[in-house]
Symmetry: C2
Subunit: 200 residues, 2 copies
């Protein structure tokens, strides 16, 4: 595997990050996360192993894209939401909206999430990234319910809505033709209603 487009040292390195992400996603999808070494990813992207770890803190981080921006957008959506809507409904709505991707982005999202939720090493790592989401949600719930972000209910809302969202993603991945939003709405509906179908 040699580089398609080699970059010289000292250059602004335009698009290098995106190129590495593509190489990583391709290789991981093709052969499995653990079966691919960081050396191979770096090689395929035309950079050195050392440089790979300057773009991504860990091997796992190469599959997440700009997740920090994703979390920031969720934070903004929560902050700019309708203050008259109930807290829990606001959280769910923000989750649905932040995950309302353009059709063209769906294949990439699918590839990412499939890796994250099926590869054990990536699933483990996801806990650390999703914790960023939890903090944002807990802070929002705390702010609207006059509680501390470390109290039980804010944490509880954050943890359970995130669990519901993740489960919706799994259902979406399992059904190639379905819409992510549908699964998210259904999951949140079940959650907020206390699972009405399970009263027996």
């Amino acid at each position: 595997m040699t580089a398609i487009e080699t970059t010289a040292p000292g250059l602004p390195a335009e698009g290098t990050r995106a190129r590495v992400e593509r190489a990583a996603l391709d290789l991981f999808t093709l052969r499995g996360f653990e079966q691919v070494t960081t050396d191979e990813v770096a090689d395929a992207a035309g950079i050195s192993r050392r440089t790979f770890f300057r773009y991504f803190a860990t091997k796992a981080d190469a599959v997440w894209g700009d997740f920090t921006a994703h979390v920031a957008r969720l934070d903004e959506l929560l902050g700019s939401g309708d203050p008259d809507r109930p807290v829990l409904a606001s959280v769910c709505a923000a989750y649905v909206e932040v995950n309302d991707y353009a059709v063209a982005e769906l294949p990439l999202l699918r590839e990412r999430m499939l890796l994250i939720l099926t590869e054990p090493a990536l699933l483990a790592h996801s806990q650390l990234r999703f914790a960023e989401v939890d903090r944002v949600v807990a802070r929002y719930v705390a702010g609207r319910s006059a509680a501390a972000a470390t109290d039980l209910v804010p944490r509880l809302v954050a943890a359970t809505t995130r669990a519901a969202a993740t489960t919706a993603f799994e259902a979406w991945l399992a059904d190639e033709r379905s819409a992510l939003g549908t699964h998210l709405r259904q999951a949140f509906a079940e959650l907020t209603a206390g699972f009405p179908g399970l009263l027996r």
Copy 2:
């Protein structure tokens, strides 16, 4: 760090596993998970590094005790529960019961969970162990609601109740004097009622 009680090779190795667990827990609590090498743990327990990895698949597994038995007990509790009780309530009750520890075991449990939920590497790893719990719960819910264990609702119940239980653990760890069962019951009450306090 030298071994208190060295064992000869070829011996039945009685209590070695427990001794390694204690050494690991002590060192991790004292200096932090990442700051302790497996070499040091093995040394403190009087075995070689190579043998450490025969008792535990990973460094992280040394803090979990016999978690497989814990999951098995949850499975049994679910299977032997009152079939007239609603499904969701049964799951919550089983969670409460399986976590009803004797007072003498609480300090050890606290030490374990504090490490697991505070140390990033262990928190990430926890996702893999907790997934075992999720499978058991999802299978139970599926069995009682005429659905497949891979359907949305069984997975959803498993993921959200587990998230609630984990959050209850966090609350318990944050309050030295509180009872774990209280937090669990409160968390499940909020969850099953759809967070009634957040209607504004």
